[in-house]
Symmetry: C2
């Protein structure tokens, strides 16, 4: 996805949020916004938004000397998500459509507000999300949530590359990954996180902490962009990307990065922002399970 | 009110909206955003946001050569509001607290979405707003909606300066102004609009079109800032401002401009944005009738 003009106000919002997260003074916050303003005219709109986000977070790191402003946020999200792992597994046990339920759980991890205080709150919020999701997924006979095709793609794939999104959410991804392995233990699943801090995106240590290694191989994209900007990824990652039978691209950042890439990609995300919703052709809040082929 | 850092993303949003309203091409829209980015580092945060808005809309005018991008919006708002003038008067006839009802109507004009298609829609939306407002105003015994003090201030004032906000809304202001005149025909009411186009703010011609001249003297602030930035106002306006027994400051732009000014000011607005809500100490969506003295 190219960068839309509507992304520009949001870049400044992101810069401000990250600066504050890093504990910057008002003065430093302003310096960071001014620096972003200085970079803006030279940023090509043909690049995807995560490329600019990468630059912005580089500026924040440089001005605040905080390498990972979201450390605490990620730690908290991981712990909260892990604390309800058994409950998530319980929901799956009661399901008659285990794969669909595990997709619903995976996407819930993207909607969940980890800012709520404890595992009880998170569990309640999750219940609410699942009910709402059910409605969206069941009532709309929607090409944008193409479960039958996804099922087939899973069945036919031997090597699956799963592009991670946020920390915490990783626990929910684990549920889906474990279910895929449960269907066929011979499948080779690779879970790709970011190489270096990128907003609250999961890193190698988050993936291990959340127990992904029990059923998938953990690799990094080789990049610190909050998405999978292919031109920023390592050669090693690209080899995996190009060889995979199926790529599950989780969340907005990955969609933004590779919505125009070729490959057997399925996008699994909630369209949280109006720009992405317009790009996909859905409404804000819609849950998307979209085959790249259908899109092309 | 000073410019908060959170206003900065919003400046870019405003620039983009105005550029589109002026019919700018994508390319020109980007040029406008880049120009705003170039100005940002030199804009002092001690200035109120309408000062930056003034600069932004100047850039839009310069790059698009459209002097008044909001002409059609204002025309439509005026016509729609005028088409329900009789209904508004009807609501007042049935009221046992005519001044309070006319304040409620005046503030409704600020909440109303003039984008809805016809006078029937507008009437329905208005009904909904009035019901919601009643709840806010009646249930919260709130220093931020100080009606008794406002009543007293109206009683004691001979010359009242009413600082206008948007076109269309002007019809709703007229209801309040007529009610004040109805209470005491000797009161001298002056309605101040902007001198030149400033977003969708009312101009001299809007005030006349909406029939304000029947009960108030119409003047301009002498400025094209979408607020009452005193340093930008004409000497003549400032004389009126300084002499008035009571100043009714309508809407956010005026609040932002003179929240720190001295004078017998009453702010009548809906806090639509989180920055202003924080500055006032209320929630987004709250209806505010706030004495400047209480504030100081």
């Amino acid at each position: 996805m190219k960068t839309y003009l509507d992304c520009i106000p949001c870049f400044f919002r992101q810069a401000l949020e990250a600066a504050r997260m890093a504990g910057a003074s008002e003065e430093t916050q302003k310096e960071i916004l001014d620096k972003v303003a200085g970079i803006l005219p030279d940023f090509p709109l043909t690049s995807p938004p995560p490329e600019m986000a990468r630059i912005i977070h580089g500026v924040v790191k440089k001005y605040t000397r905080v390498d990972d402003p979201y450390t605490e946020v990620k730690k908290k999200s991981n712990n909260l998500a892990l604390s309800i792992y058994d409950k998530l597994k319980g929901k799956l046990q009661n399901s008659h459509q285990r794969l669909l339920t595990s997709i619903e759980l995976a996407i819930s991890g993207n909607i969940l507000d980890y800012g709520v205080k404890n595992s009880l709150n998170v569990d309640k919020e999750l219940e609410k999300i699942l009910v709402e999701e059910k409605r969206v997924i069941d009532t709309e006979n929607n090409a944008l949530f193409n479960y039958p095709q996804f099922q087939k793609a899973i069945d036919n794939a031997r090597t699956i590359l799963y592009l991670a999104d946020n920390a915490g959410e990783t626990v929910f991804d684990r549920i889906l990954i474990e279910e895929i392995k449960n269907m066929d233990n011979n499948k080779n699943i690779i879970y790709a996180v970011k190489e270096k801090p990128a907003i609250n995106d999961a890193l190698i240590e988050d993936a291990y902490f959340c127990g992904i290694d029990k059923s998938a191989k953990i690799i990094s994209s080789g990049s610190d962009a909050p998405g999978t900007v292919l031109s920023r990824c390592s050669k090693e990652f690209l080899k995996t990307f190009n060889k995979a039978d199926l790529i599950i691209s989780k969340g907005q950042g990955n969609y933004e990065s590779i919505s125009s890439a070729t490959g057997p990609i399925f996008f699994l995300l909630v369209a949280k922002c109006p720009v992405i919703a317009r790009d996909i052709g859905c409404r804000v809040g819609d849950i998307i399970l979209l085959s790249h082929k259908l899109r092309a």
